[in-house]
Symmetry: C2
Subunit: 462 residues, 2 copies
């Protein structure tokens, strides 16, 4: 907020500046009070249960606080809307209630994009990286916030891991922003769009999203960085430490890039008549496929008016999502890959009932019981998808709108189909649906279990 | 075909009668040839692989042969359409390419409904029941055709089991048909609609489906029998043998009836303004909820014009399906229940990482590894759902139409949303999509694995 306040000052947005000051005057004393009353008197070690509660509450309070500047500045007058927008930001969903993005003060737009950047790599991970104090029990916190079923401890020390991840993230930020400036963006647009890209968020500062920048170079840079942001960040650490073998045999990455490649070609061929030549349609197809697959949600074209087949391919991609350990959302490629291998394994069993078959991931045989949490996750994901669809439908919305709203929020994607297409927004939903969708975004970002366990009687039992 | 030929004679439909004769003149010699060339010279025991191949081929050949009378009589001139209609019949999908059902000869309509009845309890099961010769290896055949992940051997002898199941089925047929006649139907309508109900098929002899019979009594009878047909038939055997304890503690049945009850009430409340009073809306809601949940596909109203919330509830039900061991399709309640319990189990593990938790189904602790085939199934189901959606979309159809076509065929439901609503049909699809949808119906009916294993290299390895 302090940084965004400075941005307001640079652009002489006095009202916005004071909105940040007001918000800080509430947030800082409140944080100190929380710290004072919850600091540990004994040498308590953080348990699994505390980690789940702590992470969930962090995300709720971050959004509650992050919404304040929007309300105070009048940029988003209703608190429900401001909370929705902030939760959408932190969870890197990118679903917006704004009907005219460009009318907002620049300081507010910067803050809006910054919520993406903070949430992308993880609010709690950032805290662990910055405050070594939390090192004890940090692994549990990371697990509760981490995207994906497997948390690789790339270094023995959790604080070290958190620092490395954030360093890679910051380095990518500098590189992408520089490239976007070379492509013709000013610093403000370059930074905000870099935040939206690397976090796979999708908030833009323009009503026409990335489509407002009429530059093939910018489109390609953002496409490449979206794809990079959707990959497991541990892989970059492996490259840095010279471990190319592990990088090139990563099953998830291969599947992820294959899905991206096939989807892009399918859409590009289908768009031949829409754009001028294969090169242009490939560029538009690649951008949109990357945007939906990585759950970013940027757009360079209104894909709602693309031919039906292209729309169906994008709909398909909405079910996939990024890789584990990326900033992307969705079900994650590794889960789908594992389930696919389980299914193939079962078929082998049907053919040879007494055979013993190994499941290999990254070239290494894995224990079959890794499937339990993944199967449970996928069931809850699909269950929540349908449950949220039903709740949205209570407002009287058609199936396509309800279902894709549910998919776009739970998967942290942002735009969808029906009334929430790429050129549209979530403003029209009644308040109760906005709160439910905020919950869906958080459930999606924290990968369901972390939030859902809080609602089991077991959690609260002594 | 012989029975349907007689029906043609009764109604003096000479052309239809000779169409059946012609078809029989092809089918009978062809069957004898197949029998002659494939009868076992040695005392070979039927293996798992042979069972999968035999069952899959049985369904393909049954549909190839069953389509002949439609073509020969001119009722359905194109063979692709006739095959689609017959596969839709045997798989109890009820998706139709007919634009004017009532214009067909009665003999043809009877044959059309009869394919439902034969496919409902299983073509192969029927063969096992009638031809004791197949007793050896019959269990494997039953497993390959059975709906649901668990095959209860209710008697030690497989021929006995098949006979009991078919006897219950025949008894229900007599009871329902009698009740429908009491409700005002003639014998022809009563029998054809009974076939459609008990097989959870959905073919009607009227363009307006069951809505053509303006009788609350008929609606309620069909609702009750649809729900009964969607339950595990082993439960009826348990009741007959006085085992009420097992009946009343059946987890799947409880979940199934709860889903039905809740969906009915939600829709009924939403329909209060559409119909006269709660009683009438409850009747319409109950009928349609039962029809979609059990994957029958009958309709008493055009639910495409119902309020959006009701449509969304029906959309939700399309993902569920009947119980294991029923004639219903879909993912099956037991699979979803098991996955739910796995998910809950995982949450307990997150809270107590070293705890040991039992999963109970029907009051009995089950081994955790029953989840592998179920998880694999659900993954393939959703994967095929999206794959078929994409193939349908190549024809240029919108997401709602493509997706619900895929869901309605793979789940053996019949009607869906978009261009395939309850008052519409599948006639407009190009031939290649009709063949793909025929394959989807068969994959759904044989629960994916039985057909899919044939496409693995392992299957064909010596």
């Amino acid at each position: 907020m302090i940084i965004s306040g400075f941005v307001s000052l640079i652009y002489h947005e006095i009202a916005a500046f004071f909105a940040f000051i007001k918000a800080l005057l509430i947030v800082i004393p409140a944080s100190l009070l929380v710290y004072y009353f919850t600091r540990s008197k004994k040498d308590n070690i953080l348990g699994s249960r505390e980690a789940f509660l702590l992470v969930s509450l962090s995300w709720i309070f971050a959004s509650l606080a992050g919404a304040l500047p929007f309300v105070f500045s009048g940029a988003i007058p209703a608190y429900t809307d401001a909370f929705f927008e902030t939760m959408s930001g932190f969870t890197t969903t990118g679903a917006s209630i704004l009907t005219d993005i460009e009318s907002l003060p620049r300081g507010m737009l910067f803050w809006r994009s910054m919520t993406h950047w903070l949430g992308g790599m993880g609010i709690v991970v950032l805290t662990v990286a910055l405050i070594p104090l939390l090192g004890v029990g940090g692994t549990k916190l990371l697990k509760a916030e981490a995207p994906g079923p497997i948390v690789d401890k790339i270094t023995p020390k959790i604080t070290e891991t958190a620092k490395i991840l954030w360093s890679i993230y910051v380095a990518f930020t500098v590189i992408e922003a520089t490239l976007l400036i070379i492509g013709g963006m000013d610093l403000f647009d370059a930074l905000t769009h870099t935040f939206g890209t690397l976090a796979t968020g999708g908030f833009s500062t323009r009503n026409a999203s990335v489509g407002a920048f009429n530059s093939g170079f910018i489109q390609i840079v953002i496409t490449v960085f979206m794809i990079m942001a959707g990959m497991n960040f541990n892989l970059y650490y492996k490259i840095i430490s010279g471990n190319f073998k592990d990088f090139f045999r990563d099953t998830e990455m291969k599947v992820y890039l294959s899905i991206f490649g096939i989807a892009t070609i399918l859409i590009a061929v289908n768009l031949l008549k829409t754009y001028n030549g294969f090169g242009e349609s490939l560029r538009f197809a690649g951008f949109q496929a990357a945007s939906i697959l990585t759950t970013t949600g940027f757009s360079t074209a209104d894909f709602a008016v693309w031919p039906a087949f292209s729309r169906n391919v994008l709909f398909f991609l909405m079910f996939v999502g990024g890789c584990a350990g990326s900033t992307g959302g969705g079900m994650k490629v590794i889960r789908l890959t594992t389930m696919f291998k389980v299914g193939i394994n079962e078929m082998k069993h049907l053919i040879y009932p007494r055979g013993v078959f190994l499941m290999r991931i990254n070239g290494i045989a894995v224990r079959k019981d890794i499937v339990y949490p993944i199967a449970g996750f996928i069931f809850f994901y699909v269950g929540l998808l349908l449950a949220v669809t039903l709740i949205v439908a209570t407002g009287g919305y058609d199936i396509l709108t309800s279902f894709s709203t549910s998919l776009a929020t739970l998967g942290n994607i942002g735009p969808g189909f029906g009334k929430i297409g790429p050129s549209l927004n979530y403003a029209f939903y009644p308040a109760y649906i906005k709160w439910i969708l905020s919950a869906a975004m958080m459930l999606g970002r924290l990968e369901i279990y972390t939030v859902l366990v809080l609602f089991t009687p077991h959690f609260w039992r002594r």
